[in-house]
Symmetry: C2
Subunit: 201 residues, 2 copies
């Protein structure tokens, strides 16, 4: 998705060979117009799939997921990382290991909002090791829902999450796939040009 | 906002005389079309205020805030409740006491995304004791930004947050104001009809 790739080139900050910071439009500050275009792109790629529900995870997945739900005219459910005071009963849970935080956390969704009749589109902001997407897929499977695919805003193609999910047979659609963050450079798959990204701001 | 009030009447669950559960369209499952209408309503109420930025807090504030930002064509910043791995430097923080959790937590926003040149609209899903909104206002003030107002999806009119914020001079626009949750009934301000809401589902 060219608009997204341009945004990453212009505003992304390479913190290390594995960490790209996009706090200016996705992970802290959010660009609503870009989110709308992202929603349109996901809706186009997963059109005619009979999607009945979008499943994402708080917090950065919510904006792209809600815009996708708006376009597909289906509800969005965001999995909780923390226990909610009003969300206590009938939870479907999955364990998610975070390589960055080096800890396993539990994510949860109420069984009231996902069922065997649902055809789920999983949406998340980043795909690195794929554990968050796997956790969401695990929750959908426990609910006996079918999974139409996984929509990712930014995939780190140099980490194993994408192949892990695709090897399991999931259709993964990533709007921007990064080949490498080496030497402070963001290089994109199927792109010959590399763009220097400032290391500090 | 009639559409929202109808949604609360139809889907809200009264858990106690102080807790209303709206997990079916706002706090866990999200209704994107309703969020769009909520965004349009906030944008209309705060039109011609020169808003340059929406400030909200993760997670339930994000959907209504992003739809409002879409309508006003301004960026949205969501304050973090947890420390982020890529959000570590130049943080503006505020302490927020939660009466429900009976604990004080720290919320934070990067000083890169809010400045003295900003005119901020604060958006949140619920207004009860007002501590979250006060924390966001505190962050905006620390950034020397001006505050155009506070947009609330559901205000618990029987708790003191609304008067607290209005007494401080903030313009507070709530799309639905609940007078009471007594006896499992949701009653709305400026409404004569009460609606029985099922206590369990």
């Amino acid at each position: 998705m060219e608009l997204l790739i341009e945004k990453i080139k212009n505003e992304g900050i390479v913190l290390s060979s594995s960490v790209l910071k996009v706090d200016s439009f996705l992970n802290h500050q959010v660009d609503p117009q870009l989110m709308l275009e992202i929603g349109k792109e996901f809706a186009e790629r997963f059109a005619h799939c009979g999607i009945t529900k979008i499943l994402t995870i708080e917090s950065s997945g919510i904006a792209p997921a809600v815009m996708t739900g708006l376009q597909l005219n289906v509800p969005v459910v965001f999995a909780r990382k923390r226990k909610s005071l009003t969300l206590v009963n009938n939870l479907i849970t999955a364990s998610v290991y975070s390589f960055t935080k080096e800890e396993t956390s539990e994510i949860s969704v109420s069984n009231q909002y996902i069922s065997e009749n649902d055809k789920v589109l999983i949406i998340d902001d980043f795909l690195a090791n794929g554990r968050a997407s796997l956790g969401l897929a695990d929750i959908a499977s426990k609910a006996k829902a079918s999974i139409a695919g996984i929509g990712i805003v930014i995939e780190k193609g140099f980490q194993d999450g994408g192949s892990l999910l695709r090897d399991k047979g999931y259709r993964v659609e990533s709007l921007a796939i990064i080949d490498s963050l080496n030497d402070g450079l963001v290089s994109f798959e199927q792109q010959t040009t590399e763009t220097k990204v400032e290391l500090t701001r």
